[in-house]
């Protein structure tokens, strides 16, 4: 290996990229008043989406709240809950370390492992323990051949409710009108996430990734009155008392996965995927220099959950989703 080889990853930035970036910077002259950056919020939005299927309690701030209190939960439907900018900043702000506060109540039964690469979909299927489904259609110019498959092993965690700590969280968020049932204290929810498979394609400057996993399961002692507990979670997410009540009463909490969506950066809509309901998330905001416009489709079929995300148009992503088999 000569010295030149050490520099071989260097390249000239594409002119078009440089031009767009340079042109976009003055548009950003008004700094964000508070909170995470636009990119940070976008990342949060993506992370929230991925949490649905990657199924982790690592950042339980928004995930655990709405769904960790179910006696047996399987994903059949996805429903978006708008999380406004204030709520996003409040949950992610430095004053309230929600991940830490909730994280202390999480006991890992099976810790998440790094994803492992596999040479072929068949090898990944064997590792995951189920047959991987793939799209039969790709946008023009994209190669259907799978260049990259990873499998993340199963994960399990138990969350033990601590009403005192939960009360502190509510107080920190300025929620004073919620009474926590004493019977909740010490009760536990167990989350089990089966192996998750990721298939990724790259074309030009764009990427698209299909994540799939058998539905995560959450168990709780039977007989838990779910809507009032879900209502508490929804309040933490920023819904008003009345909205949280109405929402909590209208949802079947044993089959519906609530996806908190920071609506200042992500638009969402219900879509139909292969005859069932799905959720389409699209990044919003002024056009910037990034190639990543970012969209994601979430759906469930035959006890398996899917997330298809990428820098394609939402129409192309939906088209792909319709052909996953």
């Amino acid at each position: 290996m000569d010295e030149k080889s050490l520099y071989c990853l260097r390249r000239t930035p594409p002119e078009e990229f440089v031009r767009r970036l340079q042109a976009s910077l003055p548009l950003q002259d008004a700094p964000d008043p508070v909170g995470p950056t636009r990119s940070g919020r976008a990342a949060v939005a993506i992370a929230v989406g991925i949490m649905v299927i990657a199924g982790t309690f690592m950042v339980p701030a928004v995930r655990a709240t709405a769904q960790a209190f179910l006696d047996l939960f399987r994903v059949v439907h996805f429903v978006g809950v708008p999380l406004d900018r204030q709520a996003t900043e409040r949950l992610l702000g430095t004053d309230l370390d929600l991940p830490h506060l909730l994280g202390e109540q999480v006991q890992w039964l099976q810790k998440p492992q790094p994803p492992m690469p596999y040479a072929t979909p068949d090898a990944a299927s064997a590792a995951a323990g189920y047959r991987i489904q793939l799209p039969a259609w790709m946008p023009v110019g994209w190669d259907k051949e799978v260049p990259s498959v990873h499998v993340r092993g199963p994960t399990a965690a138990r969350l033990v409710a601590d009403t005192e700590r939960l009360g502190k969280i509510l107080t920190s968020l300025g929620i004073e009108d919620v009474t926590l049932p004493e019977s909740l204290n010490g009760r536990s929810a167990t989350l089990r996430v089966a192996p998750t498979v990721s298939v990724k394609w790259v074309h030009g400057g764009s990427t698209v990734e299909l994540l799939q996993s058998p539905s995560p399961e959450v168990e709780l002692p039977a007989g838990t009155d779910l809507p009032p507990l879900a209502q508490i979670g929804l309040r933490i997410l920023g819904l008003s008392r009345d909205d949280a009540y109405r929402f909590a009463q209208s949802i079947d909490w044993r089959t519906t996965l609530v996806v908190p969506i920071p609506v200042s950066t992500v638009a969402y809509s219900q879509v139909t995927v292969q005859g069932g309901s799905g959720l389409l998330l699209e990044q919003v905001g002024p056009p910037g220099p990034r190639r990543r416009a970012g969209a994601m489709v979430l759906w469930s079929r035959d006890n398996r959950v899917f997330a298809l995300r990428g820098t394609l148009s939402s129409a192309d992503l939906l088209e792909m989703a319709q052909t996953v088999q």
Binding site: L9, R11, T12, F17, Q22, Q28, D29, A43, S198, R291
Partner: protein, 176 residues
């Protein structure tokens, strides 16, 4: 840390000692940041995304830049480093590692094939190194930073940077 030659480079300054010439900063630092990320992530989309994020942060923080604290290059590379740390943490926690290799070249077919092979080889060797060594390589060979700048970015001593880089390059050569 004292001033270095770059921080007092008049090209970096416009009319006063507190106003950055952004055009010069952009022209000089963008290729360095872009190539820093070429060594940190594998695909072009991520390289552009993270480069954009870094330059946006620098742009918005340009009025708080203090030349007595760090050179412009060190300041921008520190931002890039933090952007990389955030990104890699997110990737580690939420998404599978990206293995796709996308390269851009202007050589002829044979040379291009050869250099593409070298790139893939180097990438695979770098990916298995500890995070600190990966970062130092990215700063040295991607961003083209000297050991003093790398020390300023990472907080390591200059001699430590030199020692680690020497050892790491030797390791790469052994494995090549």
């Amino acid at each position: 840390m004292g001033l270095d030659a770059e921080s007092i480079n008049p090209m970096m300054w416009r009319s006063s000692a507190t106003e950055l010439d952004w055009n010069a900063v952009f022209a000089e630092q963008l290729p360095r940041v872009y190539n820093y990320f070429c060594y940190r992530v594998n695909n072009e989309a991520d390289v552009q995304e993270l480069t954009s994020r870094t330059l946006e942060k620098a742009w918005r923080a340009r009025q708080s830049y203090r030349p007595e604290r760090a050179s412009v290059a060190t300041w921008v590379l520190r931002i890039a480093r933090n952007v990389a740390i955030d990104h890699l943490r997110l990737v580690r926690e939420y998404a599978p590692l990206e293995e796709a290799t996308e390269t851009v070249g202007e050589d002829g077919p044979e040379l291009e094939q050869e250099s593409a092979s070298d790139r893939a080889r180097l990438q695979s060797l770098i990916r298995v190194l500890p995070a600190r060594e990966q970062e130092l390589l990215a700063l040295k060979y991607g961003a083209g930073a000297n050991n003093r700048e790398i020390a300023g970015v990472t907080g390591l001593s200059e001699s430590n940077v030199g020692t680690i880089l020497h050892r790491t390059v030797q390791l790469l050569r052994d494995r090549w």
